[in-house]
């Protein structure tokens, strides 16, 4: 029995995420396990970034992956990668969690992340190592944004605040907040395009 599971696991490891999803939709635990091993780290990290608490981050990550397990068949490859889809589920769950805990303020800067970067982290694969590099670059890209732009993006994406709430928090006109969001995303996009060039 264990042998059969190991063989299924090895087969699943050779598949791309998009090829794993039909198996996950067909309730294949080994395919799901591979999916978790590939993306569980970033999913948990994102959840932690939003909710700021280990136990809550575990809860959010578990709920998100169970949701993927139960709705794997709903993944639409035409709308983006599995990873982006999965992380959007994690983000939405985490924001829901935040909203259910009224009054919880999101973190607004990367200071904690910089400190955590000093910690040794196990890198399972070259791909993961590359992702870590990319993440560091992205932190750089986000960090390069003018504070006024990164702040509204963080409040929206990691804090789940609406543009009108952000306008109220920062004492800015709503149009200004929306303009900064748009400009900030454009700049990150520009950084990414440069990185690829």
């Amino acid at each position: 029995m264990i042998g059969a599971m190991a063989v299924k696991r090895q087969r699943a490891e050779r598949l791309a995420d998009e090829e794993l999803m039909p198996l996950v939709g067909g309730k294949d635990p080994e395919a799901f396990e591979v999916l978790y091993d590939r993306h569980g780290g970033v999913a948990y990290s994102l959840a932690y970034r939003i909710v700021g608490d280990r136990t809550a981050a575990e809860e959010v990550t578990q709920e998100a992956f169970i949701s993927v397990w139960r709705s794997g068949a709903r993944f639409d490859a035409a709308r983006g990668s599995v990873r982006s889809w999965l992380l959007s589920i994690v983000r939405n769950r985490a924001i829901d969690f935040l909203r259910s805990k009224a009054g919880k303020a999101p973190k607004l800067d990367f200071d904690d992340d910089s400190a955590l970067e000093q910690r040794p982290a196990r890198e399972r694969t070259e791909e993961e190592a590359l992702r870590r590099e990319t993440a560091a670059e992205l932190r750089g890209a986000l960090g390069k944004l003018p504070g006024e732009q990164s702040k509204v993006i963080e409040l929206a994406y990691f804090g789940g605040f609406s543009h009108s709430e952000i306008a109220r928090i920062l004492g800015l006109p709503m149009g200004t907040v929306k303009g900064r969001m748009r400009l900030g995303l454009e700049k990150i996009r520009g950084e990414l395009a440069e990185g690829l060039a």
Partner: protein, 229 residues
């Protein structure tokens, strides 16, 4: 739409992508987006920036217990789903009403194509006496004696069943499976016997192992399945 008109939509795009529009605004923007190729193109261009945001967070190792707990839940659900699928398969073979409680006696069944047996002897009752069919089915001796409208099922060389198990018998009649109202417990020599009150139209006789007290639905493959026509 003029360029100035479009600018207001374009300005909303960032907030829309970040999920920061108010619900009513988001619905309006979604409707606009469906018909605006320019906004669609801008959204496609900006999407990598949005997708980069979760990648930008500092990595933390999830605790091993998260993986363990997740996989335990997933494997449990997969097993339950597989079990439900097996029952569903059986229900397609048996009418639902047959699987309803039968006064605590449950029975089991399944006709299995390919059950291997060989006929040891047969008396077709052409002389007006009882009809007897004797076969070995998967090592189990089966003797089916039909007389009048009823019959007796005699089994030998049965394996001993655990203390918490019993054997249950089913008959298939015109494609439908019916419970035989008796539970069987092999004696120390591996013999067991039960009476089947109505053998008219019975095509197959089957026996399965079930939890003590019987089952309301089949829980296992038959240990014996024999055609009697």
């Amino acid at each position: 739409m003029s360029g100035a008109d479009h600018n207001s939509w374009s300005e909303d795009l960032g907030a829309y992508m970040l999920g920061a529009l108010e619900p009513g605004e988001a619905e309006t923007f979604t409707r606009h987006l469906e018909g605006c190729e320019r906004c669609q193109a801008e959204l496609r261009w900006l999407q990598p920036a949005l997708h980069s945001l979760p990648e930008s967070v500092e990595r933390r190792e999830p605790p091993p217990r998260l993986r363990e707990s997740l996989m335990a839940e997933v494997r449990g659900e997969a097993e339950r789903a597989a079990g439900a699928e097996r029952v569903k398969h059986r229900r397609t073979l048996f009418p639902a009403w047959l699987l309803k409680p039968a006064a605590g006696l449950a029975v089991v069944a399944l006709l299995v194509a390919g059950v291997i047996g060989y006929e040891v002897g047969k008396d077709d009752g052409s002389d007006g006496g009882p009809t007897t069919i004797e076969r070995q089915v998967d090592g189990i001796g089966v003797k089916m004696v039909q007389e009048g409208s009823g019959g007796t099922l005699q089994l030998s060389n049965l394996p001993q069943v655990p203390a918490d198990k019993v054997l249950e018998a089913w008959v298939e009649r015109e494609g439908e499976v019916e419970a035989v109202p008796a539970l069987l417990v092999p004696d120390r020599d591996g013999h067991a016997e039960t009476t089947i009150a109505d053998m008219s139209g019975v095509d197959v006789v089957m026996v399965t192992e079930e939890p003590r007290g019987g089952s309301e639905a089949p829980t296992g493959e038959p240990i014996m399945s024999m055609t009697v026509q």
